[in-house]
Amino acid sequence: MTELTKSDAGAGTAQTAAVPAEAEPAIKRITQWGEIRHRFMANRLAVVGLIIVGLLLFAAAFAPLLAPYDPLHQDLANTLASPGGEHLLGTDALGRDQLSRIIYGARIAVIIGLASIFLACLIGVVIGALAGYFGKAIDSVLMRVADVFFAFPLLIGAIVIIIVMGRGVAPVVISLAVFSWPTVSRLLRSSILSVREADYVLAARALGAGTTRIIVRHIIPNSIAAVMAYAAFSVGSAIVAEAALSFLGVGVSPEVAEWGNMLSAGRDFLGVKDYLWVYPSIAIVLTVLGFVFVGDGLRDALDPKLR
């Protein structure tokens, strides 16, 4: 077939030559991502969130330079020192510097928070999308699988995973992900149920678009909002959940400088040495705040109608 060229243009329109060919490159074809980035950056809170997340990543990357002490160094002569003085945020029951532990903790927080949610979203989005898009038997089967995971106790799962993998960050991430994807997939599936009937999905199919493309380009972008809101929040709750796992003895090893560990150790000092849990909590809150702002900003940026 001949290419469609200028001369093919409609009888009424061709003559106008509204845009001369030479001028065309002048119209910058803004990519979708460029557009999103622009909208994102125009959102003040989103930028604040980005800064927080940036600081977090910075702390994680340069912890050895930033931390005043070795986070593992025990000073039994100086345990439970109140904040101030040599130890800005005090020391814990083993005389370790809290500030240093919080800074180092950012590393694992970032890994656990992001990796577990990323993994959960990955599994959840794939399964939710398949269930929502194909419906019928596939939906039933996948959602029932999700039910099993919902009902299956995290603790047992975590123990089994630890038996297989040993204690550490990876099993924690996997445990958290394996047991939180069902939420993601449920959320996504329910949005997809309404989106999949949209005409633009039909239109894409009519173009010959494959299932993957339809799901990835058309369905997911239009139904991901709820998942994004959930994910942004869950980054924080994953860190808190790690604290619970630590407490139950299936989290990362207790000497590791990690916020969840710090919380679980600070828990018994509630009302006595509150700074032990307050500072790690604040670190988590800030992280959550950062991710929520970024998540919201991203969600808004992804929705062209909101401008």
């Binding site: 409609g10 009424g12 003559q15 909208r39």
Partner: protein, 351 residues
């Protein structure tokens, strides 16, 4: 059940001169803030409707017909949209100055709107009976039961078969024509003085369109309402309108009584529009089409917005904005109700 009848009802000129119009729009400007800049969607629209009169608003898509209507109803997306300038007089009172609470009370009992896309304009999760009855419950404090009875009555009124049993159905369960009739019923519910119908029949096929338009005209006559009919179906316009306003690029470029306009357009754009109509009774080789693209409202052309596409454009057209001026016969006698915004309207109308 079936009637075949020959209709010859020419709608009489219903407008009565001298009386204050139900609605008068004066120099309305509406802008949208977008990333690329400010879109001047409406740039000084003037029109008016009297009780019992039908004003058809014609114009290219994107020319600001819907936005004007939304501005009148006070349902602009704002932000980003806002009324930058102008007055909207409802029975002589500028409703733009009214507090929101007062303005709300006008919507429904005094003015109502029928939307272009009935499916998305009806809330998918409430039954049509509920949505119809809501008008009575909210504005007249009617009980649920009475409101439902009223809803059934309305559905009957707009000729929805088996209204009683369908009152609990949801919008998606109705055909397009029925949905549109439900929209009409909703608009008519409180017998407002003014109805704005934004392309009420675009999505309908001819036999249903004929039914719906007949219905609308009939009800309008009965309640003596002012009707603003936004459409680009010149066939429909010819059938029901009393006068026509033609919009281009956010402005009224011509206004005239219906007969006059078809006979002697006073603006080249109107001319082009009329020539573009495919006719049932003739199969031309190629339709006439107005050349060029509609203007970019971000940076409207200087002078007459139509000038880049106008076959008769002169230098002045590209520099000077033509005012909307009364049109007169060659001998100078004024043509009542006719205005045009063309520097060369004389040439256009008189050959």
């Amino acid at each position: 059940m079936t009637t075949s009848h020959v209709t010859a009802d020419v709608p009489a000129q219903r407008g009565t001169d001298g009386e204050t119009p139900v609605l008068e729009v004066r120099d309305l400007h509406v802008e949208f803030k977008t990333r690329e800049g400010i879109v001047k969607a409406v740039n000084g629209v003037n029109y008016s409707v009297k009780a019992g009169e039908t004003l058809a608003v014609l114009g290219e898509s994107g020319s600001g017909k819907s936005v004007t209507a939304q501005a009148i109803m006070g349902i602009l997306d704002s932000p980003p949209g806002r009324v930058a300038k102008g007055e909207i007089l409802f029975k002589g009172q500028d409703i733009l100055q009214l507090p929101e609470a007062e303005r709300r009370k006008l919507r429904g009992p005094k003015m109502a709107m029928i939307f272009q896309d009935a499916l998305s304009a009806l809330n998918p999760v409430f039954s049509v009976g509920n949505q119809l009855g809501e008008m009575f419950r909210v504005h007249q404090g009617m009980s649920k039961k009475d409101a439902k009875a009223k809803a059934i009555e309305l559905m009957d009124r707009v000729k929805i078969p088996a209204a009683r049993s369908r009152v609990g159905d949801y919008p998606h369960q109705f055909s397009g024509g029925m949905r549109q009739r439900i929209m009409i019923a909703m608009a008519l519910a409180l017998e407002p003085d003014l109805i704005i119908a934004d392309e009420p029949t675009t999505a309908l096929d001819v036999t249903v369109q004929a039914q719906v338009m007949d219905l609308l005209a009939e009800l309008q006559a009965e309640y003596h309402m002012g009707l603003i009919l936004i459409t680009h179906d010149l066939g429909v316009v010819a059938d029901v309108a009393d006068k026509i306003a033609v919009m281009y690029a956010g402005r009224i470029v011509e206004q005239a009584p219906v007969h006059e306009l078809y006979k002697r357009p006073a603006h080249p754009y109107t001319r082009g529009l009329l020539d573009s109509i495919p006719r049932l009774d003739q199969k031309g080789q190629e339709l006439y089409a107005i050349k060029g693209l509609p203007p970019n409202l971000l940076k409207p052309p200087t002078g007459c917005a139509f000038s880049p596409r106008c076959p008769k454009a002169q230098d002045i057209c590209r520099t000077e904005l033509p005012p909307l001026v009364p049109v007169s016969e060659q001998d100078g006698t004024e043509l009542v109700g006719r205005v045009s915004a063309c520097h060369f309207w004389k040439e256009q109308i008189h050959g």
